[in-house]
Subunit: 442 residues, 4 copies
Amino acid sequence: MEEINASVDFDKRLAHEDLAGSKAHARMLAACGIISEADGTAIVRGLEEIEAEIAAGHFEFKRSLEDVHLNIENRLAEKIGPVAGRLHTARSRNDQVATDFRLWVRGACDRATAGLKVLQQVLLELAAAHADTIMPGFTHMQPAQPVTFGHHCLAYVEMFARDRDRFVHCARRLNECPLGAAALAGTPYPIDRTMTATALGFDGPARNSLDAVAARDFALDYLAAAAIAATHLSRLGEEIVIWTTPGFGFLRLSDAFSTGSSIMPQKRNPDAAELVRAKSGRILGSFVGLATVIKGLALAYAKDLQEDKEAVFSAADALELCLAAMAGMLSDVTVVPEQMRKAAEAGFPTATDLADWCVRELSIPFREAHHIAGAIVKRAEEMGVALAELPLSQMQAVEARIDARIYDVLTLEASVTARRSFGGSAPEQVRNQIAYWRGKLS
Amino acid sequence: MEEINASVDFDKRLAHEDLAGSKAHARMLAACGIISEADGTAIVRGLEEIEAEIAAGHFEFKRSLEDVHLNIENRLAEKIGPVAGRLHTARSRNDQVATDFRLWVRGACDRATAGLKVLQQVLLELAAAHADTIMPGFTHMQPAQPVTFGHHCLAYVEMFARDRDRFVHCARRLNECPLGAAALAGTPYPIDRTMTATALGFDGPARNSLDAVAARDFALDYLAAAAIAATHLSRLGEEIVIWTTPGFGFLRLSDAFSTGSSIMPQKRNPDAAELVRAKSGRILGSFVGLATVIKGLALAYAKDLQEDKEAVFSAADALELCLAAMAGMLSDVTVVPEQMRKAAEAGFPTATDLADWCVRELSIPFREAHHIAGAIVKRAEEMGVALAELPLSQMQAVEARIDARIYDVLTLEASVTARRSFGGSAPEQVRNQIAYWRGKLS
Amino acid sequence: MEEINASVDFDKRLAHEDLAGSKAHARMLAACGIISEADGTAIVRGLEEIEAEIAAGHFEFKRSLEDVHLNIENRLAEKIGPVAGRLHTARSRNDQVATDFRLWVRGACDRATAGLKVLQQVLLELAAAHADTIMPGFTHMQPAQPVTFGHHCLAYVEMFARDRDRFVHCARRLNECPLGAAALAGTPYPIDRTMTATALGFDGPARNSLDAVAARDFALDYLAAAAIAATHLSRLGEEIVIWTTPGFGFLRLSDAFSTGSSIMPQKRNPDAAELVRAKSGRILGSFVGLATVIKGLALAYAKDLQEDKEAVFSAADALELCLAAMAGMLSDVTVVPEQMRKAAEAGFPTATDLADWCVRELSIPFREAHHIAGAIVKRAEEMGVALAELPLSQMQAVEARIDARIYDVLTLEASVTARRSFGGSAPEQVRNQIAYWRGKLS
Amino acid sequence: MEEINASVDFDKRLAHEDLAGSKAHARMLAACGIISEADGTAIVRGLEEIEAEIAAGHFEFKRSLEDVHLNIENRLAEKIGPVAGRLHTARSRNDQVATDFRLWVRGACDRATAGLKVLQQVLLELAAAHADTIMPGFTHMQPAQPVTFGHHCLAYVEMFARDRDRFVHCARRLNECPLGAAALAGTPYPIDRTMTATALGFDGPARNSLDAVAARDFALDYLAAAAIAATHLSRLGEEIVIWTTPGFGFLRLSDAFSTGSSIMPQKRNPDAAELVRAKSGRILGSFVGLATVIKGLALAYAKDLQEDKEAVFSAADALELCLAAMAGMLSDVTVVPEQMRKAAEAGFPTATDLADWCVRELSIPFREAHHIAGAIVKRAEEMGVALAELPLSQMQAVEARIDARIYDVLTLEASVTARRSFGGSAPEQVRNQIAYWRGKLS
């Protein structure tokens, strides 16, 4: 029973938040005259000493004392005697733990937001360095049209921006303070909930005491944001794994972010990218786990909710590790433009440009222009040449009105540069977006 | 292969959005001089006729035409001839489907927000009618302290408010228009992406063409919001199931929202509440399903993404049904205050009040006061009386300083009313919150 | 990078299996003449000393040595010098870790099977003690027909029997030894894979070297079995939570398996039951996490697979804890037959018996008999009496052919006893099943 | 309410099973003298007519009649009059639906098993044709050691064999008949449960009536088996997607199983492989959905369980489609051995063979031999030659004892052929395994 019930092994990670909450509560109790100023001061001083002990690594958390809260209370009583008992006035374990955990999740949101920003900055620098580096744009993992590596990097800058937005809103949505909800019904003491809420950086007190102690949607919110960010990280991880294979060879990882083989010196296993790709599973699993716990749970507090913390801790650790690993990996990566270009030339990636030219210059309906382009590509394929190398006569045999201006659109550079529509692959567009994001991220 | 590839059976639900997107695109092409005004007008007119056919139920979607887009294009060609082919200029299936689906999800967010609001209003009316109706507040499903049914209803009003907020932010975050991203790299046509974006109610065009066609985090965002809202709905569903058992008897469902038994006329099975409770599984499963699809998917478009729609449709249908069923059920429910009161009297629910009184009036530290209250409750238990009925002498035998004022806090009413802290159970607090929400929801 | 890569913090739990695998491998290498007898003996002796050090708690696992395998190899080299290097002949980390982990999961299956059996035995004793204790049988959580508590306990005995079967088959299905698959392609050394397989209790060597190192479906298999068992445990947990509320009061938990309240001495929070109910989330989350990791993973080994162990460890710990907690809780539970009986009397639980009597004795079609019973129940309800107390004239007013024999079927006892169909609620049937399970579980 | 309650839209898929169950029940009732022979015959005849109507597509399922069962009962009454009402004697909707659904899931297990077998056979033929076709064996998606394509195919044969085993055991474990459990408590009629069980192909009647109507672990069992099989299918799908990129080019899909592009004739998008990869998400989501529904559900029947069917139907449809698509795709695939060989030559894939030779021939400890091999590979890399082309003097400069026999192990063929350990890459081993599986699958 102790084993299933004790939580100090993991909830000790709330110690900092628990102390902050207790200090704010003690100060408020004294300010409202619910405890004496002297008692308030003694309690706060005791809590600060405990904080120092924990920071110094001298605090011993005991499993026999069940959870982090009892460990701290017990130590406080050792330090300041029975007055310690006054700290729990107008408070219950239920609102206390809900407050601690909200504070922790808010901090985790901030760390995620910061980590995402660093990663965006790394990607932005890569984009700036490679705004003109041509690589294949893929659909179905098949080369489709040329783009630039800078353009590709910016796609992830966009994704991580939305991820940041999710964490920002999660942190805002949770920012109501449960303290003062007590066990579930509020308290008859004349407390000032706004004072504690403000002291702890909340926007204000939670408006319903039952909800305050029973709600864990803020934790689900964090886990959902983390799970979605993890799908983005895993997409990037997958691309790194594929792009570092000899068949692609677009990227080379540094020694620090790959593992070698003692006998194959050229081998660089993209372990870190694989682990980033994999961690998305764990984070998704945490969301599922906690959603399943909360599903169908009658109000208000139930012991089931004790399962909230490990789910979030595990996901937050994984996410923060992935963000740091990915930022480190990409800071250090070697881009291989020749391999990218070679791959971009595979197929007839400017066939769409040919069709578009027919629409634009010859006023042929799009669907028909596509058939013309298809027929011309077929001739190039049979002759074993690139589209830019196909004699004009061959093209005119398919559509007589094609003229020499067609060659202006058939090179990779022409194709990339032509896509000047907002957000398109043209280096000038890429540079516009880089400028936009530099402004946003500075 | 047709079977695994065809999607029209489900993506026909995008027909409305597809037509809106195509009309906006055609108008922009004409405005930018990419197609002639006459062609633009013909296309828009054709699309409007198709819209009318669908609205009238006369449009036949054919599986042989694979998806909703080809079905509509084909019909357009039947109506207006080869000019129909010009519609696909400067557009690709990839940006088209991404646009359609964003529009659909935006609509689903709006429906969810509206449905949640209706449910909040129903709960608010219940709260207003029962701001003074005493019921037990539960922890661990055991009666702990008295609250009011109005207070309990407001806890759900809070939860559903946060759920609304999630859908609102989801709708905002997704509100960038993919149209013009074309296959993945943008387009060489001089299109005006802002014009189409504005016409479709987007805040502007998506800033990166690769991201625009590859991203589905907006769908995950919707599913996460739905999954979290579903946990709240399922908590309420569970409470209705339990509260309608004879052992509780707090609520009685109307015939419309329960199923009877042909031989046990008193039996009212809470089928709708059970189904609401259950649907949370399906919605969570949809999130898991789509997150797993997207995990590790290289950019840009891949056929895997075709799995996005059924996941969202199924979850949205379930959520909207649950919201309507729950609002209907609660509009029609009979509250049984006597049963609530009876349950609230079980145990010694004002024991905390007794302890709090000792702290407040006798300046006894909280932890010690709790021991006193425990000893007094034990005496009451042995004598088989409620706390409010226990002779003063019995209390004084435990703690001599207790005096007759103690009886002021030992009734259920006193307990409920005393908790005047912000958000607490006191009817005046409940009424304050009702006023707050009435303002918000009107 | 060390942080994302190091695994010794969790994979040290494989130390026992790793040592067993290494000993078997060393003995085989010597027996096949691949290493000398002397080297083989030295290696085995060294490994046994390490085993003793670990058992005694003297072995220090170092994070700088990355994983459990390198920690052990390093220590072996400290003990026996360069000869330690021969142990890794004809083996790779890939087949080694796959072997270790299969052994661990096999052990976890055995522990789960044993834990389920103990729980079945506890339930069987409860069933034996309460084969005649009448309680309501519920549908939709509403009392429907009377059953006995013994009968209800046996329902869980059945579920846990199927759960055991799942673990048994999981253990059998995984029982092929990867050792000798080496990195992925097998080895040119003349090894005897059957010898190592047999020494480690496997049915034989795995038949394909790529599959041997890449497969983790055995871990998914374990997690699926655990997740399904967890749904059964959570159903039982939910019932205990509900049945210990004052509204039901069917069960009373012992102090050891509930937590009290310092001020409400009668309060027994069913914490352990709640945690058992909750842990199902974590286990399901582990399955989701690992399935997501493995989904879409190209062969053979990838670093992603390092995520397999924590998922399984976390789920196994949770499952084993739940099984022990549930067995302990039920060994110690107090059953309250009077409360069960009272609840069974709620409603008109023998109405079905009345209908059945009409079918049987009066040859009325079932659907019609149900209408008759419904009409009679309505009269009883109006008069406020139980069916067994309703005057015969009242019944005859509905259906003239009903006679006094009807009273034989209207009591709870009569209803329960009448259901003599195989597996039905009749105490004789319950006792038959108890005898069956006693035979099976002894 | 009708909308949330009606299930006929999906449960009509149980019509066949429902009719089979009803016929068996009617025959048993007549055989036991509970209904007359004449009534039994009339009922069975009526049911057979309905069966024919459904088979002919003439049966109209009405939503107003809620579910498949009521639709059939209603039609039976239209056909044979009030006698139809006798069919429901000694039966309830609860045991009826549990029986129907078990029958359906049993059939789904059989279909999955058969589909997996067909896929295994396709893979076996590919393996037979390519037992000698050298390709790179990958770890971390990097080429590591050469294997053969036949060997790689056999890895999947193994996985799908375990998947079949899961479905086989699922079908066996569920094979107990709920019929006769009635609403939850059994029935007072003298029914013969063994007779109906046998008629429906069950091993016998379920032993506990409460469990019989409340259990759905058989559905979870199916979904878990499907989810695990789906991870294997998705791994194969991922490999096909990667192997058909120009960077790899190992495989070429037929037109039937890829989609082209109207303008890039060489483009073959691996749509079917992508969809197979993606469907694993949906199936995993179904498992999560149903597990979440069942978690914490009190016995016996609850309306929540109505969610069981769509989860299973959706997963079964997806699985069966994937199996057929994968078998079709691979039946038709073109293998490109030159591309496989080219990739196998990348890196120094026989470096391990060099090290192994040193261990074997020079008795150098494995760890040391690996360092020697590493140093030699480094020289080859600097000289830009393959290992088999490196002059002996270069190798001897690293380790003087190496002699000309070393060249026997440095070619791809030598490397592959040398791995003769059971289950290794040697073509003779591959052929042994093909023979083994031919025996098993014939």
